[in-house]
Structure formats: C-alpha cells, structure tokens
Amino acid sequence: MTGSASGDVVLDLDHVVKRFGHHEVLSGVSLQLHRHEVVCLIGASGSGKSTLLRCANLLETIDGGDISLFGQSLLDDHIDPDLVRRHIGMVFQSFNLFPHLSVLDNILLGPVRAMRRKPSEVRDEALALLDRIGLRDRANDFPDRLSGGQQQRVAIVRSLAMRPALLLLDEVTSALDPTLVGEVLDLLRDLAANGTTMLVATHEMNFARDVARHVAYLDHGVLIEQGTPDEMFNHPQHESTRAFLERVR
C-alpha cells in the first residue's frame, strides 16, 4: 500500500480541462488514485469537485488532458464508456435511488441488466450487502419508505454490487439531516478500513482528516495543493487553503 509503484495507480487524472461554454470549470487538474487508497477532494461549492468526479466517470466529456483507468487512456476512440462505468461506482448527493423499484431491485439492476448476471445469483450477494448495512428487512420496501440516511446507504451498496474497482462519492452527506450524517460516514469508514478505493468530494473535514490518505484542495477549478491530512490541515502551504479551512472550521 505504498502507492509509489505506478502499477498501483487505479485512476490517473492528468491535467484535466473542462469548459461549459466559455466558463472553464477545471483548469488542468492532475490527481492520482492508488489501489486501496482514499482521496478526499475539498473546496467550496462550485470549485469543480463534482465536475471532476463526473469527468472521471465519463459522464462529462473533457476538453483537455487525459484520464486513465489502470493505465489505459479513456479518451481512446474505441473505449466503451458503458464498460468503463461498470468498473467505477458513483454515489450522488441526492441518492438517486430508482423510485419505481424496490430496494432489492435497485441493487440488482446494474449486475443483472448491465453485467448480465443471473438474478438468483446476485440476489444472495445483494441481501448480504443489505445485511451489512442492517437493512435486510427493508429489501422489498420502496425507497420513499426509507430515511435519507438509509437511502444513501442503499445507494452506496447499489454501486458496490457492481464490484467496482473504485468508488466516486459526490458530497454524499450534504443532502442529509445532520442526525443522519453519522450512519453514512460510518459506512464509508468501514469501507475504507476494508481497502475500498475511493475518491470522495466532501465538506466533512473531520472525515477527511481521519480517513483520507490524501487530501486535495480545489479552488475555482484549480488544484491548489494536495498532501496528507496532516500536511493539509495542520501545515497548509497556500493562503487560499488556509482561508478555506478557516471558513469551514
């Protein structure tokens, strides 16, 4: 888990540029994510964290730079984005569970319809995942019967059911009632302890400090600095990082 060997690099964002019209939202952001590593993206709303995650997942096309997964450039013409996304799990701020499907069917949809796996076989795995988050008895409920925290945990488990190589988490606690944030963060801590590779955009500084191996600070589409939590939170090098941390403290 040293992360120095290049073979360990799962996701490599290399000078990624993204524009919406004339507005540049990402100005050459470079970031590496190693196997079993948790990297936290911090920064104000609108700093480009979400956009960076979406670009990594090919949900947005990029206007410059390169993105590689396991050393393969995803900009190659013959790359199938649908295949790429099967290896990258993504969880959203607003959960985005499918309201017309039960909790169990939400989890089964990806493995069964995208991976063409047998429902009977995936079912047991899905129930085991629900067991892990203590929601096995809610398997047949519809998402609107669940609390926000429960919905978000189901959404996380839904992406895990694809057995992704890495997880992208886009401010997954920002839409939650403060009393429900804990249960979601606990699940993420649990995943981190089990070696899940994660790129986490977050406003939860304590979580970033405890769990991240690496923290990166984004400001107006520019990656200002990155380092270990100790370096970032205790000895920030840049004035804007200091100012941001001062504001969120």
Partner: protein
C-alpha cells in the same frame, strides 16, 4: 416620532369578519351554497321553459317516443339503431387507442434517441408530429377516407369506411400522444439517468428500465384526457359514411324530422366520457396529494 419598539407593542388587533360579510362564514356557508344552487338551477330551468320556442325545442330534441325509437332503430323502415351504432364508436376507440399507445411510444422514443443511425427517423418523427398536430382531424379523415382508396394499393383500397376512419384517428392522435410521452420522458429527473448510466447501463437499457417506467406513470392522466377526446372524435368518422351513433342519429333526424336521436347519441357519449373524466381527476388528485405528502 415613535420608536420601532413602540409600534410592535400596539393594542390587540381586531380579527373579526366585518358584519356585512358574515353571511358566508361559519355554519351559514352551507345555507348560502344551498340557496345559490337552487336559485341558479331555477333560473336556468325557467329560461328553458319560458323561451318562446320552448315547446317546439322540447318536442324536436327531447321527445321520449323518438328518443326510444332512434335508440332501438327500425330496420323495416331503414332506421338504424343508435345503440348499435355506438358499439362501432366503442370498438373504433379501443382499437385505435391500442395502436396509438404503441405507435406514440415508438415515435417518442425515436425523437429522444441520440443514435446517429436514427437521424433520418428523428427528422421524420419531428416532421410528422408537427404536421399532424397542426391539421384539423376532420381534414385528415377526409384525406385518408377518400385519398387512400384512390391510391389503388391492393387491400389498402378495399376497406370499409370504419377502417379508414380508424387509420385517420390513429395518425392524428399518435402525433399528440407521442408528444405526451416525450414530455413524460423529459420530466424524469436527470439524476435518475446519471445514476443508471453510472451503473454501466446503456442508453437503451436506461430508457427501458429507468426512464420509461417513471415517465409512463406521470403521463397516465394526460393520456386519459386524450383518450376521452378520441372517444368523442370517433363521431367524425361518420363523414365517410361509417354507421356509428352520430350517423344513425342524423339518419333518424332526416327521415323522421325529429332530432331526439342527437340527444340520445350525446347521452351515450357522456355515459363513457364522464366516468373517465372523474377517474382522471381522481388520479390527478392522488398524484397531487402524494407530491404534497412527499414535501411534508
């Protein structure tokens, strides 16, 4: 000049309804609505009965004997039964509705597709919806009913007027229904599509498993509205000579010089459309309550 603090602690305000508006408050509200309903109905009825031509209108349109005769028909004298004719309206409506739902969904799917291969079909679908939502249905009925037979295309030219009527209804209503489906597809939140795509589902699978099931649920009430107008518009097929309720009523009128059949046909249409309308309203209310409950 007083301070702001003084203005806040003013004496107790008067919260009572002014006396001249108390007629409509509290338990008096029920009495007020009863009185106004009775007055309105009485006014309408008396206008109907006191009008100078009332007696002849009642004889011409609301004659019990003629209403019954036109309803059951009289084959010996060439009078067709409106009741029987109405079955034509019902089967045309049902057959058309099935075709319209299937074709409308296909057209909507093509319009929201992104595949480069489907480009010409997208243009075609857009042109089709634009054109047929813009032409009055009556003209389409005429064009199909008299145009298709003239094409001399084998079986296409030898059908009965009912079939041409159905084709015309289907062509026009598919254009409307396709737009309803398309609006429903666009009403599904983008986050749903992002979530599905990030699971690795293809565009087509996302459409089939995530977008359409949610879209169809939202468009059921507007689709029922279109179904109600389709049911009424089956009467337009009479211009091609199809024997349905409106046509049978017309024949009865021109033969016996009594228009009571027109009222009978109207009542038959109402017997179908009013329950459907009520049902649609119930669905809309249920949706609205569910949305309000979701906000709470």
């Amino acid at each position: 000049m007083s301070t702001g603090h003084d203005e806040v602690s003013s004496p107790t305000p008067n919260l009572f309804t002014p006396p001249h508006r108390r007629l409509f408050t509290g338990r008096r509200g029920l009495a007020a609505s009863t009185v106004s309903s009775v007055l309105l109905v009485a006014a309408l009825v008396s206008v109907f009965f006191w009008a100078p031509g009332s007696a002849s209108v009642r004889y011409y349109f609301f004659n019990g004997h003629d209403m019954w005769q036109s309803f059951i028909g009289h084959p010996q004298t060439g009078l067709l039964s409106i009741g029987k004719g109405f079955f034509t309206n019902i089967w045309m409506c049902l057959v058309c509705e099935v075709l319209i739902l299937i074709l409308g969904l296909c057209v909507a799917w093509i319009r929201v597709s992104r595949s480069p291969v489907l480009f010409p079909f997208r243009v075609l679908a857009t042109g089709y919806t634009d054109v047929f939502r813009g032409i009055p249905l009556l003209l389409v009925v005429f064009m199909v009913g008299f145009g298709l037979p003239s094409m001399q295309l084998g079986f296409l030219t030898t059908q009965s007027p009912d079939v041409y009527g159905c084709i015309a209804l289907t062509i026009t209503y598919t254009a409307y229904v396709a737009e309803v489906f398309r609006a429903g597809i666009y009403s599904v939140p983008n986050g749903q599509i992002l979530a599905a795509r990030s699971l690795g589902l293809t565009h087509a699978t996302t459409m089939r498993r995530v977008t359409l099931p949610q879209a169809v649920r939202t468009v059921i009430p507007p689709l029922l509205n279109d179904f109600i107008s389709l049911q009424k518009d089956t009467a337009l097929v009479s211009v091609l000579g199809a024997i349905e309720a409106a046509r049978a009523a017309q024949i009865y009128e021109s033969t016996t010089f009594n228009g009571s059949g027109l009222v009978v046909a109207s009542l038959l249409f109402l017997a179908i459309t009013i329950p459907l309308t009520r049902f649609t309203d119930r669905l809309l209310d249920r949706d609205r309550n569910r949305r309000l409950a979701a906000l709470a």
